[in-house]
């Protein structure tokens, strides 16, 4: 009998092309997702070396970071010159190298990590990479998925492999049931709050436990998406009926007998009884509250009932970092989090731009108006999410409440396109990073769930969504 394996071990073992004596492996990559920001230098490298894309049929490109989200975005004047050049370079590279492509004009265009699963490119047991740290999202399917730099993008384009050393195994278990008003976003932020942004460094996390099992695929993607914010190379959730149901019938998912064959293998993708984890973290689902971030690192997480901490509450280098954060964020130690006034609300991103996220926000907003003077926008994660939300009547709820209803893209999550915070503006955002300047120069970001973002839009300050339910 072979030693018990973790889910990570099983996927890893199925993809090793070659292993050196020191443990360095050549790992085969099943899906390579590409966007316009981290790929032009890689394609240029191929061109200069006279190389081709080894597996264009396994390579999928979509522009998302730079694209405007206003309704008139097909007008080139909506983009800055350098953004236009970057998107045009992707258009050209996709055509020249013959890879799968969803241009801005295609209704299927959207954020790369939303388009991949939606189109059935992402399947259980695969290895998935992209020149983007939030590739961790795809781990929700039980796929080993992580971000890479541009040199590695070029390496995967040329060879369909990556040179890798195996990470350690970490288990994050969320036991029990979540309470009403608590979502996948609160789970993933609470985990980072518990482990710190460096806590996962060197590990691949497997999320498990009843609260994770109870999540939809959308919720699982939210959890895995922010594995990177905890420092982990990847996050994984073992596939189950929820996964198979989501995958079945998607355009690029297997059909008929092939689906049955795939399913038989997918059902072997779980962590064996007794498999070894190098680190285990357990949180009780019932104890997780709706959370918000107060600082400029995703680990700066507190329950909404909390107060802004004092730098002296921390140890070591974090004392100075906390002092800097509190000053940057314009807060005072001891201030109640619910007293923090918000002027901007952003709902969207690869973390929370899926249909379920829009439903959760719309459920809070139905029949209500956003606070006077509030700037609020919804940026669906893909053109198809947008279409579905319109069909379900969610778009009308958002518009009637006073939200702008935008086209798909990364938008204000990283503010590479025109959707940005101005200096000093303060945003309740469903995105994944609250770094200094992330959403615009001197902009201030509080990370929250979609329901919490909707609540803040109505009241004008950070709010416990449970009071509006």
């Amino acid at each position: 009998m072979t030693a018990p394996k973790t889910l990570y071990d099983k996927i890893w073992d199925a993809h090793v092309v070659d292993q050196a004596d020191d443990g360095t492996c050549l790992l085969y990559i099943d899906r390579h997702l590409v966007h316009e920001v981290t790929s032009p230098q890689a394609f240029e490298g191929l061109r200069m070396a006279g190389r081709k894309v080894r597996a264009p049929e396994k390579t999928i490109a979509v522009p998302d970071h730079n694209v405007p989200t206003t309704l008139d975005r097909e007008d080139p004047a909506t983009m800055t010159e350098d953004s236009r050049i970057q998107v045009a370079a992707l258009d050209k590279n996709a055509k020249e190298f013959g890879i799968n492509y969803y241009p801005v004009t295609d209704v299927r265009q959207g954020i790369v990590h939303i388009v991949g699963p939606e189109q059935g490119w992402t399947l259980p047991g695969m290895t998935v990479v992209c020149g983007d740290s939030h590739t961790a999202t795809h781990g929700a399917f039980g796929a080993l998925a992580h971000g890479i730099g541009t040199s590695e993008v070029e390496h995967v384009l040329a060879t369909q492999t990556l040179i890798q050393k195996k990470s350690k195994n970490m288990k994050v278990e969320i036991t029990g049931k979540l309470r009403p008003g608590v979502t996948a976003k609160d789970i993933t932020l609470a985990v980072i709050g518990a482990t710190g942004t460096g806590g996962g460094t060197g590990y691949v996390i497997e999320y498990c436990g009843e609260a994770i099992r109870d999540l939809s695929m959308e919720g699982r993607m939210t959890v895995c998406n922010m594995a990177i914010e905890g420092g982990a190379r990847a996050g994984l959730i073992a596939p189950d009926e929820t996964t198979y149901e989501y995958v079945k019938g998607r355009p690029h998912a297997p059909k008929g007998a092939q689906f049955e064959a795939a399913l038989a293998w997918w059902k072997t993708l779980f962590t064996d009884e007794g498999a070894h984890f190098d680190k285990v973290v357990t949180l009780k689902g019932e104890e997780i509250e709706p959370v918000v971030t107060w600082g400029t690192s995703p680990e700066d997480v507190l329950p909404i009932s909390g107060v802004v901490p004092a730098p002296e509450d921390f140890k070591g280098g974090k004392i100075e970092a906390a002092r800097r954060s509190i000053e940057y964020m314009g807060l005072t130690a001891g201030q109640k989090l619910t007293d923090i006034a918000i002027d901007t609300v952003f709902i969207g991103s690869c973390t929370n731009g899926r249909i379920e996220d829009l439903r959760a926000a719309a459920a809070i907003l139905k029949g209500k108006k956003i606070k006077d003077g509030m700037r609020a926008m919804v940026v669906p994660g893909s053109g198809l999410v947008r279409a579905q939300a319109e069909e379900e009547g969610l778009a009308d709820i958002f518009k009637e409440a006073g939200f702008e209803w935008r086209m798909a893209g990364c938008s204000m999550c990283l503010a590479m396109n025109p959707d940005q915070l101005a200096e000093g503006e303060r945003c309740a955002s469903t995105s994944n990073r609250n770094f200094e300047g992330r959403q615009g120069y001197k902009g201030r970001t509080h990370l929250v769930s979609p329901a919490m973002a909707a609540a803040a839009a109505i009241t004008g300050h950070l709010t416990d969504v449970r009071e509006l339910m």
Binding site: Y28, Q41, A261, E299, A321, R433
Partner: protein, 201 residues
């Protein structure tokens, strides 16, 4: 890639923890389709005011650190996005070595691909080297990759660990793609077997 040889140079202290890739190179500079020329915008929002004037207090603007080739940094350096623009900017500025208690995974890997050496040391040793760096331009450190030793300005030696394969590539300036291409037949064999075992992929 240029070969990594022994580096002797000025070390700049950046004790802040969680220095993220948005700090290292803000997103407005990611709209380039080239790898070069990012050094001038390294740490842009910490280094310049809105009018583009240098902020004198920022470490790399201080006369004694303008020529730094080594950074001694706080924990979890390079966290955040996968942008290789971060190591491109550091390398373009002239940084060859970064010393910290830990690095974010993707940044760590990206650094090696650009001829830069990230070194992980325990807290007390990083603290000692931070103090050394704070002495300024006269305190020059030496980083010897071959022998895996950092020598501080007053001659104290700090041995460090580095992955053998990554060390080999850095010392010889090897390009990963070229190395992998030599294993082309293994890749083809893997693809054949995988097409049988998992034809739906």
């Amino acid at each position: 890639m240029e070969k990594f040889e022994t580096v002797t140079g000025i070390a700049a202290p950046m004790p802040l923890v969680n220095i993220d890739t948005d700090m290292i190179i803000p997103k407005i500079f990611l709209k380039t389709i080239k790898r070069s020329g990012l050094g001038v915008n390294l740490f842009d929002e910490m280094r310049y005011d809105r009018q583009g004037n240098e902020i004198p207090d920022f470490v790399l603007n201080k006369p004694q650190y303008r020529e730094a080739s080594i950074l001694v940094a706080g924990d979890n350096f390079g966290c955040g996005s996968s942008r290789e623009h971060a190591p491109w900017a550091l390398a373009d500025f002239g940084i060859k070595v970064i010393i910290s208690t830990s690095f974010a995974d993707i940044f760590y890997n990206n650094s090696f691909k650009n001829g830069m050496l990230p070194i992980v040391l325990p807290q007390e040793q990083v603290d000692a080297l931070m103090k050394d760096a704070e002495k300024g331009a006269n305190a020059r450190m030496t980083v010897d990759l071959e022998n895996q030793i950092i020598t501080s300005s007053d001659g104290v030696e700090f041995p460090f660990e580095v992955d053998a394969f990554k060390k080999h590539c850095l010392l010889n300036g090897l390009d990963d793609i070229g190395l992998t291409m030599e294993k082309e037949s293994s890749i083809t064999a893997f693809e054949g077997a995988a097409a049988q075992a998992r034809p739906w992929v």
